[in-house]
Subunit: 307 residues, 4 copies
C-alpha cells in the first residue's frame, strides 16, 4: 500500500498547572521519559517504543487543557495539497515554523470548527533513544510505570463535529470507524482513523468549543491495565473510571486525571480497522455500553473538565 | 488515508489428508467455525471476528501443503492495474473466476517466483455471522478453542525471495517491515506488510519452490497463548515450539501442526508498523533470537515440512 | 503440618426462583457442570477442578438467598469434639443425616449467632469427573464460561459477628486474616481462613440476621476476570461492580447477580495467609478502598439484597 | 485449622562466585531488594511481599550451589519435639545459633539423607519493609524485575529420596502432593507440601548427594512470566527452559541461571493442595510432560548443574 497522507497521531501539547507534579505523573504513572526542556518552560517527553523525538509536550500555564495535537504525515506535498483544499473550503490554516517544537518540521495548523488546533507535519527528528532496529530487543530497558508504548490519540469535545468530520475525511483521508448517534440519529461522537487502528482521533459534540476530554496512551494488554490500576491506587492518582472496556473500539481502559486535571487514558486492545468493512454505530439509547461497556451507563464525568 | 490497494490477507487454502481430523483441529484447537462445504469436498471456515464469508479453505488431498493464499484489495481497478504491471514484468498471472470459492469475486492469481500462488481480489461476500455493527457486542458467543480472531498471514519458503519482494513492493505496495540477512547480507527472510501490522506475509529463501511454513491466526494476548498451549497439551496436538516470542515482529507465538502436517501458528502482539520509521534487520549470526527470541536458536524444524 | 480440622469451603446451597434460568447462569456464565438432580428439585453442580461430588446446590424456592454453606473437615472425631465444645458454649447444633445431599456424609450443623447455618462434615463422595490424578492433564476438557476453578467462599451479613468469630476461631480453628473496623474500632467485617487462602468465609455486621452477600468462585487470573466481564456484557448479566480489586484480601473481582438476585463473585489472586504474620486491618474511614480498592468508595449495593 | 508445625519455606542460602554480578541478577532480574550485608560477606535479600527480614542469602564462595534452606515453623516446642524424634531415628541434627543469620532465631539443622541441610526455626525478625498491614496497599512501590512475590521453594537432587520423605512426612508433617515414579514404580521425584501450596520442597533421586536443582520465586501470573522472559532476553540471562508449564504442580515457569550457575525459577499458578484429596502421580514414561508439560520431554539439563 503506497501510504500517502496521515500516518499517525504524533504529539499532544497539554497545559499543566504545576510542572513538577506533572512530570512526576507522566513519568511515574504513565511511564514516559523526559527528552528535553525548552527555554519557554515546555517539557518534551516520549514513550519507550516511539521513534520520533517526542510525543508529549507539557506547557506550564495557569489553566489546564490542550493546546494542540499533531499528526505525522508522509510527504510535504500532502501538506501543501491539504492547505490548498482547506483554503478552498474556507478553513483557517497557518504554518507553524520548523523548530517551534525542537526537532519538528513545519506544521500545517488547522483551525477546526470544533475549536481545536490540529497540526499536520512531515518531519520529526528520530529519537536517539528510539527502539532498536539492528538485532532489536523488545525494549532497551524495562518500561516504567504503566508501560505506555506510545501516545495514541485524543478525544476532543467541541462544536460542529460534522464539520470536523468533513475536513478530516475529505481533506486528510480519515475514515469513520465507529460512531454514537444523538437522539435524532446524527453523529454525537465520532471515531476517526487514518490507519488500521480503531481510532486515531475522536470528537464528541458539545456546546462549548475547544474542550479536551483525554489524551490516551497504549499499553500492552489487560494485564498492563491491571498493573496501571494498582499504580494509581498506591499513588493515589484520581481515577475517573476503570478498569473497564469501551463498547466503541473495544478498548480496555482506565480514565484518570493528571495533577492539573487533564484526563488521561491507558488502554489496550481494540479491533483492527479496514475501510471495506461495515461501520459500527450505536444508537443514543445505548450510549452507556457504547462508552463504558461493562458499566452500561455513562458516568457524571463523561464531559470535558478543563477548557 | 485514501487506502488504495491491498487491504489484508483474506484467505488461505490448505490441503489436508483427512478432512474429519482437520475439521476437528481447526474447530477445537484454533476455534474456527465451518461456513460451508463445497461439492468438490472443500470446506470453508472463518474466525469469529472476521467480516468476510470465509478465511480458511481446506481441500481434501493426498499431499498436505498450501494451494494459495489471497489478499483482499479495494477496487477492481487496482487489480487491473496490477495485472498490466505484472505483464510488463513478465510475471505470469491468470484470473480465477468469481465463485471458484463461494462468495468470492474474481481473483487475479499471481505466479510468484518463489513457486507460490498469490490471489488478489476485491469482492468477498459479507458473512452472515460477521461481527455485530449496530450496538455491537465484542463477540456473538464466546470464542472456542484458542479463540482465533482472524486468519492473519502465511510464511512461505521458496526460491527467489528477492523477486517476490519486487513484485509485492513495486506492484502491490507492500513494505518491508523487517528482514533477516543471509551471511552475505542479502535478505534471507523477509516480512512484508500492506498495513500497520508488523507483517501480512513473509518469505524465507529456500532451494525448493512453493514450500509452506505456516498459516497464522491472531489471538488476543499472551494469556490466550497460554490457554492455547494448554489445549494443545490436553488434546495432544504436536507442537513445534512455544509458547515463545519472535524477535522479528515481536509476536508471541506457538508453532504447531494440524493432523496433516501443515504448520499453524497462534500469535499475539507485535509492533505497529509505519512506513516512515527505520526498518528493522537482523544479521545472520542473530537468526536464533530473530526467529525464537527466548530460545535464541533455531530449532531443527525451522524448515518447511510439507511440499 | 498435621492438618486437623477444617480443610476448605465445600459447598453452598442457594435458593433460586427459576431453576431453568439459574442453571443457564451457573453453567454458561460461571462455568459449572450439572452433577445430578434430586427428587426434591435440588440441582447439584460442580466446578471443573473440584474433587468432591458437588459444590453448589440450587434449591427451587419462592425466595432467593442462602440455605447453608458447608466446610469439609478431616476426621469425624473433629466434628464430635466440635459438637461438644459448642454444646458447652450453648450454641445450637444438629446433625444433618448422611445422604441429605447425595454423596455427602453426616453434617454437624451449627446455628450461628449471625443467623446462618454452617455445616461441617468429613465425608464427601469423590466426583467421577474429578481432576485426573494419574499422568494428569490440567483439565479434562476446556473450562466453560468464566472458567470457575472452584466454589471458594461466602460473604454473609448478620448480627453478632463477634460471636461468629469466637465460634469459628475457638472451636473450628479459623484465623482472622483481615478485618474492617467500625467507627469505634470494633470489627465490622471479618475475613476468616482455615487454610493459606486469604479467606475461607467472611462476615459483615448487619442489623438483620441470616443475610447473604455473595458466593464466590475462583478463576485463574486477571485475564480470566476480563473474559468473565465480556461474558456478562454479552449475555446481559447484571453486574454489581467490577472488574476491580478488593483492598481486603487483594482479590481481583467482579460482583454480579444470578437471575434470582443472589450475588455471585468471580475472583482471582489474593495473598497467601500464614498465621504467624501480622494481621491486616482497615479503619472505618478507609472502608471504600478496603472493599473496592480502585473505586475507593462503597457502592449503594454493598448490602445484602436477599434474605 | 490449628496450625502446628512447619509454616513455609523461609530462606535459601546460595553460594555465588561473583557477588557483584549476583546482586545485579537477584535485584534486576528477580526483583529482590538488598536488606543487609554481613561482616563475612554474606548478603541478605528479600522479596517485596515477604514479612520476614530476609529470604535469600548469598554467600561468596569459589563454588556455586546451596548451603541450606530453612522453614519457618510455629513454636519452639515443635522444634524440640522434632529434635527428639530425629534423634530416635538416628538422623543427625544440630542447632544453629540465633543470629548466625541476622534477625533469625535458633535453627534446628537437619542433615538429610539426600545430603542437604534443612533448617527449621520459629523466630525471624519482621522486616521494616514488610507489606503494609494498616489500610494496606498492594505494594509499597512497584515491584522491580520479574516482580518476585516471595522465595517459594527449592528442588534438590540427592541420594535416598525415600529417606527424605520419611523424615519430612513423619517428623515434620509434610504431605506428598505429587510424585514421578521410576521405571520400577518407586518415587523418583517427590513434591512435598506443608501447606495448601502444591509444593514447599521437592527432591529428585540422584547418585550424588547434596546437589541443587533450583530455587524458585513466585510471580503473579502468566503475564508476569512473559515479562520475565523478556527481561531475560534483553539482559542476556541464560535460560534453561521456558516459558512453559510443569505437568507436576501445574506451575507456569521459566528455569534460568544466575551468573554463578545456580538455577533459578520464576513460576506462577499451580493447584491448591488439600490432604484429603487423591494424590497425583506420573509413570516414568510420562516424565517428559510431568516436568515440561508443553514440550513433553525432558531437556538435557534436567540434572543438577552445581554441587
Amino acid at each position: 500500500m503506497a501510504v500517502s497522507g496521515v500516518l499517525r497521531p504524533g504529539f499532544v501539547q497539554l497545559r499543566v498547572l504545576d510542572m513538577e507534579k506533572a512530570l512526576w505523573h507522566y513519568q511515574t504513572i504513565i511511564g514516559l521519559k523526559i527528552v528535553s526542556t525548552g527555554d519557554d518552560g515546555r517539557v518534551y517527553l516520549r514513550a519507550f517504543d516511539e521513534f520520533d523525538r517526542h510525543s508529549v509536550v507539557l506547557r506550564p500555564s495557569d489553566s489546564a487543557g490542550i493546546d494542540c495535537t499533531g499528526f505525522k504525515c508522509d510527504g510535504e506535498a500532502f501538506l501543501l495539497g491539504a492547505e490548498k483544499a482547506l483554503e478552498q473550503r474556507g478553513v483557517k490554516t497557518e504554518w507553524v515554523a520548523a523548530g517551534e517544537q525542537p526537532g519538528m518540521g513545519t506544521r500545517l495548523r488547522v483551525h477546526m470548527p470544533t475549536g481545536h488546533l490540529l497540526d499536520f507535519y512531515a518531519d520529526a527528528e528520530l529519537s536517539e533513544f528510539a527502539p532498536m532496529t539492528r538485532n532489536p530487543h523488545v525494549f532497551r530497558e524495562p518500561p516504567a510505570g504503566a508501560g505506555a508504548i506510545r501516545f495514541d490519540h485524543c478525544l476532543l469535545y467541541g462544536t460542529n463535529v460534522a464539520g470536523a468530520f468533513e475536513i478530516l475525511h475529505d481533506v486528510f483521508g480519515f475514515e469513520l470507524s465507529e460512531h454514537l448517534e444523538d437522539p435524532t440519529g446524527q453523529p454525537l461522537a465520532i471515531f476517526l482513523t487514518a490507519s488500521n487502528k480503531a481510532h486515531d482521533i475522536a470528537f464528541v459534540e458539545h456546546p462549548e468549543p475547544g474542550k479536551f476530554h483525554h489524551a490516551s496512551f497504549l499499553v500492552e494488554d489487560w494485564a498492563a491495565i491491571g498493573h496501571a490500576a494498582d499504580l494509581m491506587a498506591v499513588y493515589d492518582v484520581p481515577v475517573d473510571i476503570g478498569p473497564t472496556r469501551h463498547g466503541i473500539t473495544r478498548g480496555k481502559t482506565i480514565y484518570f486525571w493528571d495533577p492539573s486535571g487533564n484526563r488521561n487514558e491507558v488502554f489496550a486492545g481494540g479491533y483492527t480497522f479496514y475501510p471495506d468493512q461495515p461501520k459500527r454505530s450505536w444508537e443514543f439509547e445505548q450510549a452507556g455500553p457504547a462508552v463504558f461497556y461493562y458499566e452500561k451507563k455513562l458516568n457524571e464525568t463523561f464531559l470535558p473538565v478543563v477548557t
